[in-house]
């Protein structure tokens, strides 16, 4: 075991994993994260805590992780290279290790221009692939980026993101291969609506044998309304929402039910895709729906390994 985390144990045992997302609040109350933790603790194997997602300032991901851990929920620490240089990233990794965090997701981060401090200076000292490599070296060789020795263990299960829907499509699998060779133990993908494209990407992934080297968790975004579907279709870079999905939401008498139905159908299809080892549910501002989705997808109870 690299980290001994619950997520690692479940994935390494060959079971189908479920993770979800818990965004921290734009405020200092611990209750928001605690509520999401209580809500989701029984239906997922680990909970991602986002890191100033969409470049909007929120409570730090590390604090959110600690709050979850206190509740007995296993966190995945999301970290973006937008806001921290190599010194800060490494010191936060050590701090997270000391606090018992065992999963980390290494990301570039949405550009600061999108957020609520668009005039901020972006850091981008190292990129997400270099970050993965750095954490792996810290864990496996007990060395900082400058090759100095680290005292103590840095036991992380290292995650990365992959977006099969961004361009150029043919290069996406090469980028995944780079993340895997950098040290990504698991991958959480962008939300999947375009199943045909995802299936095509997964074939390329299998052709390179990458599904044997990393655990791919397929991303899901439950859609609450037709407005949300339309917004994601036209305004979110890196998302591919087919017109058919928008039409289904538009025609639905009960859009929320339709959103759940789409999500459940997607999970059923994903279970049949070779190399998919789990799902990652990103129900932004709709966390309440996650337990129902996991239950109705037949993924309850979560295994204890």
């Amino acid at each position: 075991m690299k980290s001994g985390s619950n997520l690692e144990r479940i994935l390494e045992s060959g079971r189908f994993s479920v993770t979800a997302e818990a965004g921290p609040p734009k405020g200092s109350s611990p209750k928001v994260i605690q509520r999401k933790g209580e809500l989701l603790k029984l239906c997922c194997d680990a909970l991602n805590v986002t890191d100033n997602q969409t470049a909007i300032v929120r409570m730090s991901s590390l604090s959110g992780c600690v709050l979850l851990k206190e509740l007995g929920v296993e966190p995945v620490l999301q970290m973006v290279v937008r806001d921290r240089n190599r010194l800060s990233l490494q010191s936060d990794i050590l701090g997270a290790a000391a606090l018992g965090i065992r999963n980390v997701l290494c990301l570039s981060g949405d550009h600061q221009k999108f957020g609520n401090h668009p005039t901020a200076k972006g850091v981008y000292d190292i990129d997400s692939i270099q970050f993965i490599q750095m954490v792996k070296t810290m864990r496996d060789e007990h060395k900082f980026l400058n090759a100095e020795e680290i005292s103590g263990d840095v036991p992380f299960f290292i995650g990365a993101a992959a977006n099969p829907f961004a361009d150029p499509f043919e290069f996406r699998v090469i980028r995944l291969a780079k993340k895997v060779s950098a040290g990504a133990d698991f991958i959480q993908t962008q939300g999947i609506f375009d199943m045909a494209k995802f299936v095509e990407w997964m074939k390329m992934v299998r052709d390179r044998g990458l599904d044997e080297k990393t655990h791919i968790l397929a991303g899901l975004i439950p859609i609450k309304s037709v407005g949300m579907a339309r917004y994601m279709r036209s305004n979110v870079s890196g998302l591919s929402v087919p017109k058919e999905i928008v039409d289904r939401m538009a025609d639905a008498k009960e859009p929320k039910e339709e959103g759940v139905k789409i999500c459940l159908e997607t999970i059923e299809q994903l279970k049949e895709v070779d190399g998919v080892h789990g799902v990652h549910i990103m129900a932004v501002a709709w966390e309440d729906i996650v337990p129902r989705i996991v239950e109705e997808a037949g993924l309850m109870p979560r295994p204890v390994v």
């Binding site: 949405d110 550009h111 221009k113 981008y124 361009d167 890196g238």
Partner: protein, 222 residues
Amino acid sequence: MITLEQKKFQEIEKMTKGYNPLLVLGCETCAAMSFAGGQQQVAELASAIRIARKTSGQEGEVLEDAVARQCEPEFVDLIADKVGGCDAVLSIACGAGVQLFAERFQDKVILPGCNTTFLGVTEELGVWSERCAGCGNCILDKTAGLCPIARCSKQLLNGPCGGSMNGKCEISKEVDCVWQLIIDRLTRLNRLEMLEEIFPVKDWSPAGHGGPRKMVREDLKS
């Protein structure tokens, strides 16, 4: 070239208020190429200041001139007499020109008339775009002659990120994704395998993060 653009007139008017005489001084190299500080732009700006002063009932003479390069001491010194007779100089040059003036004329007020924008190229008349970040350690041999430091919004060395769509950057549909361009070009050159290797972390110290930069060529020093 170094590209620059004149500051907004209101800002120039406010910063130059009360200086008599004021010398509006252009630069015939990059500032002229940017259509910001050549002789014609200097004449237009000086006239605008004169008119504004007249309209608001302010006193004060406005002189105008230009030198070949405000970043070279020998050219700066050519205009010493004229500068000496003025209250302040509005330098229509890049930040380097403004500062060399300030160094050469210690007791003179030197004001910046431009914002220095970037190191770039002229795409067409009236359109310039950034190409170089002056990072002090060129990697263009590894990126098909297209710079991710200057042209990727996240300065990724192992791009593109998940926000690249239809050849455009996630920050704007007006901005090309340089990684898409790099991949296209390497594909044409049949060298795409170059990108399979992980690009190591960058040493940012020659890029200005090691403190202010200086270059010394002993062979050229007298």
